[in-house]
Symmetry: C2
Subunit: 682 residues, 2 copies
């Protein structure tokens, strides 16, 4: 390039260079290393290289751009505009050529490594660089006198046009190769997969000409109780649909250890559970594809995060070793596998599966995914991350050191083992408030923004009804009951006389609190029973004890911030969690929700291949603490059973059941805790 | 090692070094790079490291070896001897330690890269270095406080004990891993596979403790008409059984082009043929395992050589493109695939398949295998290699240049399309002689060493009978008929009057020659008909024309030597082949048989991983000549139709049908050719 050649300046990168008149903008971008996308390799087909040229004076850049700085709109652009529409002011980078000094803006959607907008406050943004990508190649026709296979000419084209080497094809792709090349007149689109830690590519699928229907991936959070999936567009990163269903393994046991027992007691029991969960994933994949109106055969990747028992059962490994010390995993490393090996028949037959690494026998790929989403190893301050599910995965640390453990909270936080419990779905009570004076409740259900005492509530919820109470709802209900004086610190529900409300009804030898009576409309009667309170107490004690155990290991009494994660992490009210004593003391404004951090971690691994290497490295540096054999865990667990509250409404009962030594408020001081809570409530 | 340390000298390598007293012989061998095998890594289990110490004076080596030069026979050796027997004079290299200067012989069977004895004269010996090998590892037990997966500890053990890295495990192996480790008390045997051109290993199977039952592989020559397989012991290289069966695709068409037509005319026809051949391979694998009395699940590798159409049909690729110019292969490169992808359910579920590369659309992996076996690219003199099957693969060249083509000979050489034809099996006539004076034939059948006029022939063949005539038999019969004056140069069978024998019987408008009449014993009447002669003429003309075409390309009129290969190559008499004009002129002592060179090439690739890289390289340097579009091929084909003979017994008929321009004897001179033939006959 000569000094007299036109100058091209790319924004926002600021990269600049001089190129001969007639150089396509895409060519200049590539030579300067500008992040400008292209799937078709500059053939004017894919429109991914759209750029926005700017005209006029640019004193900052020292150039004036004439309106003749780019070649005129050409036929390819005109046709593209006619057929699909080109946004005003946009040009195709592969068609527009440089005619004079010019400033070219690369809009975010044209960047190869575009970032996907983050949703949860603490979640990291996702940079698109998926393991499976789409490329178009133009392949040489066969020559009888220089014989070579069609695949070998595809490989040569990938090398010449995309600098991609080490490409393999499976038998099903080989079977499609020859017709696709001929139908596409020697232009084909390829779905190319490159596993983490590999220099090799595999062709997952092939289409004649330019493939317009996209590539998709599923990020799946495979929990003991629920299975949740996001369907992601692997080109844009957009979440096209999200869906979930109950884990059908529940019929073999509600918690992990009962499933391990089932496998131990029943020959072939592990295989039954494996078949059940794989079938459910197929159902989910089909449902989510239907919802997004895509063909499920366009799903080329699945990423799973799950706890170790689910991990083994998904893979078809008997989890028996996970049920007894030393809790040895069959494998702890990340895995890249053909999805067909998991019988995932609903999606593309060549689809690939990635499983994040496990941290230890009780701390699985779900905890790894939370670490990938929240990066405690990069935190300046000491962060406690709690991923609440049937097991709670707990991470504590900062950039010096990160510890992890898991705690068997059971499924109560997910609405299971609760008398009126249900999974978070429209109609489920998700928010509860109890007036401390009148002891009357009001609530909100999923699917409506209205409170139950708002005008129009009945109409707004007419379709769903009020069907039960989900995890976040029961937590709020119990905390509110305690603050309204309906519960004593030991968790005992007072009688109507003690609590001054008829909503405290006798139930057997104990009492229950009535939240909603829908029987008049044929709906259920929703109460919080003494059994429900006990289930929540057990769950929250386990959670709290796990967090305390890690704090003991780091020899700290408090943490700088708390991140609540989990399938319903987004819905837990931090205030109520602290009233309950689910989590250790922290300033309320330092308690944030990361939403479904494990699911977010799965999405990161789905959309960014480098993140797979990253998490494999992070996991190697997380120190595991085994709760099951740690005597202090039991001690913390027992001590955390009570429900602390600064202003105890039952001083006479409190004498019988003294406040536990270690619990929320006890260390921080009642008054301060009370103030924080009140402020948060206002 | 100090100068005063004992000296150890290994034979036959001559490698020597000094080691401290107490060093195990195996350790010394490893440090010196001596080729001494071990599967168990020195644990006294596998006995692969047997050595033969020598005692006494070794002036050549400058040492005297005392009988105390090695430690005494230890308990491990005593137990091994008791249980399995240790050959006299042998020690276990891992147990015997150096006590003084010593000379140690490594017997051939203890060498890692032992050579397998070659059978055919021209075939290369095979150096054992298979892609799948057996190793024993001792794995650390899990530690709850340093959690890691069992697989990760197996990987660490492989690295520490075998310097093997990059090891993966498939799901079925992962499912077996934990029970195997515990049952084997943390010692397991692994079948490790490392594909050609790869740095990665895959665990194909795992056994508790030391696996004694061996690993096996199948080298399969998948022909259009017959499928032949060798079952090889992947540790010793020994061929444990060989077997073959007819290719069931014959029902879709006898030759390749009729199978391609079948696929073109019948939707799903290619899939039918694919299913048929895969099923046959399963049958063959089961049969051959039964014959060798091994469990077929111990077969971990299959290597296939085949022509391009069979290659595509085996892989499940529609061969339609191979039926029309430019004869484009879907892929020409070598392939390593899971055998399960080919539905090879009879063998181990994790078994791997390797397909040699194809040279071009008509010159397949079978020709590549012949090249690997015969290495024309390393030949000093100009060698013509002819692999006779339903298609003939022809290679011509030397270390300067190698050309290849294929020629559509049809199945006549394999006994098909011959009136009394049959495949080479007990009872088939394989050798024929006709007395030129009496015109009486005599013959031999497969399964007996006796000629039909030897005493005891009837008894010797009582079980099999005389059932038909196989490929080599029909070639000899036709050549002998010509030399006995029963045929004219155009291939016409003379009448009884012309030939002075009642064995020339009228048959329709032509004549047939009676070789054997078994009707008295309920057997068949075996004649050579005029139709048989025509089929052989077409086949041999195609073969000859292909060879001539390559000679034209190299601008030569003769070759230095000829190698006959093919499933029945070992049985063709070179003399008869030249009488027939199957192959160009060459001194009779320069015509050798390589036996089943394609099958041998398959065995090489099965037993030696490096050979896989070798053949991929060789194939890249072979220049392909396409017979189908070369006008000179047709010309040579037509000219080669006659059956030349130096002493023409029918001079009056010869006038009507002049000798062809290009044919055996015509260039070398009738008299010289005749002498050679006579000398060879004596």
């Amino acid at each position: 390039m000569a000094d007299t050649d036109p100058l091209i300046i790319f924004t926002p990168s600021g990269k600049r260079g001089r190129f001969p008149v007639g150089t396509p903008v895409l060519t200049a971008a590539r030579q300067l290393g500008v992040d400008l996308d292209s799937v078709c390799g500059g053939r004017g087909i894919c429109s991914k290289c759209q750029v926005a040229p700017a005209f006029g004076d640019f004193p900052k850049h020292g150039v004036t751009v004439a309106d003749t700085a780019l070649s005129e709109w050409n036929e390819v652009e005109a046709r593209y505009d006619r057929v699909r529409g080109l946004k005003s002011g946009r040009r195709l980078g592969c068609q527009a050529t440089i005619q004079g000094d010019v400033v070219i803006d690369v809009p975010p959607e044209s960047q190869v490594h575009r970032q996907v907008v983050r949703k949860a406050a603490s979640a990291r943004p996702i940079t698109m660089d998926p393991a499976t990508r789409l490329v178009l190649v133009e392949v040489d026709e066969p020559d009888m006198h220089e014989p070579s296979g069609d695949l070998e000419r595809v490989q040569a084209a990938l090398k010449a046009q995309w600098e991609i080497e080490g490409v393999h094809a499976s038998l099903p792709v080989l079977a499609k190769l020859q017709p696709a090349l001929r139908k596409g007149e020697w232009k084909v689109s390829l779905a190319l997969h490159r596993p983490a830690n590999s220099e090799e590519f595999e062709i997952l699928d092939i289409w004649p000409g330019f493939h317009e229907d996209g590539l998709f991936g599923l990020a799946i959070d495979l929990g003991s109780t629920t299975i949740a999936a996001h369907l992601c567009d692997l080109v844009t990163g957009e979440v096209r649909a999200s869906s979930g269903l109950m884990n059908p393994q529940i019929r073999f046991g509600e918690d992990l250890m009962s499933r391990v027992s089932y496998a131990m007691m029943n020959p072939g029991g592990d295989a039954e559970m494996t078949a059940a969960v794989r079938e459910a994933i197929n159902t989910l994949a089909q449902e989510i594809a239907d919802e997004a109106e895509i063909n499920p055969s366009l799903i080329f990747e699945t990423v799973f995060v799950c706890n170790p028992v689910m991990h083994h059962l998904l893979l078809g490994i008997d989890p028996v070793e996970l049920g007894q010390a030393p809790f040895a995993l069959a494998t702890s490393g990340a895995l890249t596998l053909p999805a067909s090996g998991l019988d995932l028949t609903a999606i593309n037959g060549q689809a690939q599966t990635y499983l994040l690494p496990c941290i230890a026998g009780h701390v699985g790929a779900d905890a790894a995914a939370v670490a990938l989403s929240e990066r405690p190893d990069q935190s300046e301050d000491l962060v406690l991350i709690v991923d609440v599910g049937t097991n709670a995965e707990i991470l504590l640390g900062n950039k010096e050191k990160v510890l992890a453990c898991s705690s068997p909270t059971g499924p109560a936080f997910e609405g299971a083992q609760i008398s009126a419990g249900q999974r978070a779905a429209p109609g489920a009570i998700e928010r509860v408030e109890i007036n401390p004076e009148t002891k009357e409740p009001r609530f909100r259900v999923i699917g409506s923004e209205l409170w139950s005492d708002d005008p129009g509530f009945a109409e707004a919820t007419a379709v769903t009804g009020v069907t039960g109470i989900c995890g976040s709802g029961i937590i709020e209900a119990v905390a509110e009951m305690r603050m309204a004086g309906l519960l004593d610190p030991s968790g005992l529900i007072g009688s109507a006389a003690q609590t001054s409300t008829a909503r405290s009804e006798p139930e057997g030898r104990t009492h229950a609190y009535l939240i909603h009576d829908g029987t008049a409309d044929g709906g259920p009667r929703i109460t919080v029973t003494q059994g429900d309170i006990r289930a929540i107490q057990l769950a929250k004690s386990a959670l709290y004890a796990g967090a305390r155990l890690l704090m003991d290991q780091l020899e700290v009494d408090q943490v700088d911030r708390v991140v609540l994660a989990g399938a319903f992490g987004a819905h837990i009210s931090p205030k109520h969690a602290m009233v309950l004593g689910m989590i250790p003391d922290a300033p309320l404004d330092k308690v944030t929700s990361a939403g479904n951090a494990a699911g977010h971690g799965a999405r990161i691994a789905l959309c960014n291949r480098a993140a797979r290497q990253e998490i494999e490295e992070i996991v190697g540096h997380i120190h595991k603490v085994e709760t099951a054999v740690e005597p202090r865990f039991q001690e913390h667990f027992v001590n955390a059973n009570a429900i602390p509250h600064a202003t105890d409404p039952f001083p006479e009962l409190a004498k019988a059941a003294p406040l536990p030594k270690v619990s929320f408020g006890a260390s921080g001081g009642g008054e301060a805790g009370g103030r924080r809570r009140r402020r948060a409530r206002g």
